[in-house]
Amino acid sequence: MRRFLIFAAKRSAFVIPQLLAVSLIVFTLIRLLPGDPSFMLAGPYASPDRIAEVHRSLGLNKPIVEQYLQYLRRISVGDFGTSWRTSQPVLTDIEQRLPATLELVVGAVVLSVLIGVPLGVAVANNRGGTVDRLVFTYGMLAGSLPDFWIGLVLILIFFYALGWAPAPVGQLGMAVSPPDHITGAYLLDALLTRDWRSFVSALSQLVLPVATLVLVYMPLVLKTTRSTMEEMLDSNFVLQARASGLSRRTQLRYALRNALPSIVTIVGILFWFLLGGAVLVETIFAWGGLGQYAVESVVNSDYASLQAVVLVIAVFTTFVFLIVDLLYFVLDPRITI
């Protein structure tokens, strides 16, 4: 336990310079624009007063280091500026949209792990079988499929042709009103407030987008689980276990336990991929999450919100990787502090 706390402290201390570096990059990004950024941030419809206000808040007349420090101070209290499109503070925009994206991403991760890991273990255990070949082909294919295109195809088949899935109009059906706000995630809120109509609608709206993400990204977990398990099952210590007469189940247990660190790492990477993939999927399904927001910002040159979204996603990823590292430490006793 003590070892873990020391490692956790050291590793967490690392996060701070990482976050600083991320903020620095995002800060520099905006400054890459030619001309006065305050025009860009204030938007095309801004009044001269507004532009002056933005100019001041950016501190553009001050030396660059002070600008950066000012920037740091602002973002640490959540002041990301105002989106000229929504006329709201960017922070509010993000707060409204983040839960939707999380719903999607977390749902996809959970499902991918629940399907991918057992399937990978089973296939590693039964090498050469038909299931193995099918899974291999699927894995091969899935890595090449464009997620946005698959989403469209799924809509075509399951909505248009078969009519099983609802229309891709967002998180809830057209006629359904959202549940009372607790977390902002409709599915969760509906569950917590026992708003069953919303719950069913939210769930059915989730099916296609999550299915799209899982179809395309689950093979990542599947392939890694399979190859790591195969490697472990071929290893010397499993050979010794066989030679010692330990049962097949124990051998599998030994192998899986050794494969867990790699599996945990790939789940972290899965998050990383999904945060990118969610952007496209949200656009197709009109999901109203952070991804769609990012796209809209880019297309409309809303730099304030673009800057903030990139920052938020990067911070999120940093923490995901921190958790992965901590878990890895717990799972693998060979890691030194």
């Binding site: 290893s235 010397n236 210590f237 050979l239 010794q240 276990a241 066989r242 030679a243 010692s244 007469g245 330990l246 049962s247 097949r248 124990t250 030994y254 336990r257 050794n258 799972l331 693998d332 006793p333 060979r334 030194t336 502090i337």
Partner: protein, 619 residues
Amino acid sequence: MNLPPLLEVDRLTVTFHGNRDVRMILEDVSLIVRDSESVGLVGESGSGKSVLLTAIMGLLREPWRVTAGQIRFQGKDLLGLDEEALLRLRGKELALALANPRQHLNPIVTIGRQLVDMQRAHGVLGHEAAFARGVALLESVGIPDPLLRMHAYPHELSGGMCQRVILALAISNSPRLLMVDEPTNGLDVTISVQILELLHGAVKRLKSGLLIVSRDLGVVAHYCGRVAVMRQGRIVEQASVGNFFAAPRDPYSRRLLAAASAARDADLTAGSVQLLKAKPNQICPPEPATVLQIEGLVKRFTVKGGRELTAVDGVSFSVHRAEALALVGESGSGKTTVGRCILRILEPNAGSIRFAGRDVTRLPVRKFRRLRSRVQMVFQDPFDSMNPRKRVGAAVVEPLRLTTKMVEREIRRRCDELFDLVGLSREAAHLYPHQLSAGELQRVGIARAIATNPDLVIFDEPTSSLDVSVRADILNLLRDLQQQIGITYLFISHDLTAVRRLCHRVAILYLGKVVEIGETEAIFRSPLHPYSRALLSSVLYPDPDQVRAPFVLSGEIPSPIDLPTGCALHTRCPMASDVCRTQEPAMEEKTASRWLACHAVPALAQPSPTRHDVETGSR
């Protein structure tokens, strides 16, 4: 005797079905092990010994297949059993301990858990009972603090301890037949002896049969009743140990035995072993001039956690022109680090290094690079020390290209010359490393080292990864080269038989310090320092008649991070006294040209008789 033998392998043939070819791995192999009998299976790499063990346990997997023959255990046909039945036998009646123990332990599970799993798989009920038995098992294999170790992970244990754990696992269910593959591979000599004694005792106690696979004939000579020699998948000779070592019948066996012999001046022409009756130092006497002088060398490393590892703790010696000086020691002795400091692959922390009088210790690496033509190294693993993408000829002449101004024509001529010198054909220069055998590649390494005609060649365990017969050839080559060209050697090795064959003087190191230094023959005949005595008595000569009075050191080698106070050996030395614990002994000349650092050995003492001399007989 109506009882069937414990193990009977009857004309076993195993083939390998690869993508492109089918190869015979074992051909018509027949072997018998009786109850309470110890059989040694000897052979070089590629002979198929490990495959045989795997086949007996029924662990063979595609693409290896048994295509003919039978294996019977206590009369039962093993090949006909299904996996279920085999699982019941394995680990219980029939136990296998594989080579390289650390790789065979689950790295993420504690030792205790693995012991418990092992027992519960074979009927021991209850976690507590299995755990308690596990502790007892660890104690019986000589692991200190067994209760603590139950909660340790394999990477926290030393190689020797891992081997003990594997043995504990193997004997945990009192097997009828115990098969052990290379139990001393990679272990230090003094630890190896402990392991072998332990194995021997366990087998006697359990009254089980033992099949021990080894490349080392010495192990077989001392611990087995019968021996079988394997070569390229066939058993070429099977005999009782006494008969075998007295007069081996098969020519391959004879060659193996001759190569393993400790005789310094053995002539290994095929079919006979003759000792040249020359006296030591007569063949190539060294000159008085000093090529290398080391004074008070110190090298420390910082390890994770901020602690310091003292690899070399004040080493001093000198090497004379045309001499071969050996640096001998086990792991932690610092001998390898000394070599690397001399070559400035590592930077020493203190002390001085002098080449022919010139102090090069503080020379910046850039300037030292110009001196590289003067001192070169031959490495341990020939395949690891050659760039796999470079033709060997190019590798050999690279030092010439980089440190001299020779023109292309001269370089080509020198390349031919070098290949001739080391006994390789000139065409071999165009080959890639993987196309050569280990022995041939080591010759290339030697050619590379002497290419620039250096003043000093340092050898870092040059024979340790080679097979026994190849070892002898390389040593002969080295001796010939010294005769012909008069190169000076610094021979770093733990292979004491090689040292005895090749070197004029030897320095014995322990935990970063020189404990004894003097003429090779004199030290081998009568070592004075307690560590030297332990080390030299651990060498197993392939002669079952040889009387050993083993001088055993207790316990494990201390970690160089936590060096003991006073004399570094005091934690293990039976002759340790209070002064040993507090005061570090100084290097003194105890008898003529024999220097020691020990409190317990008085000056000009009578060397104690510890060994029956092999030299006085001829085979």
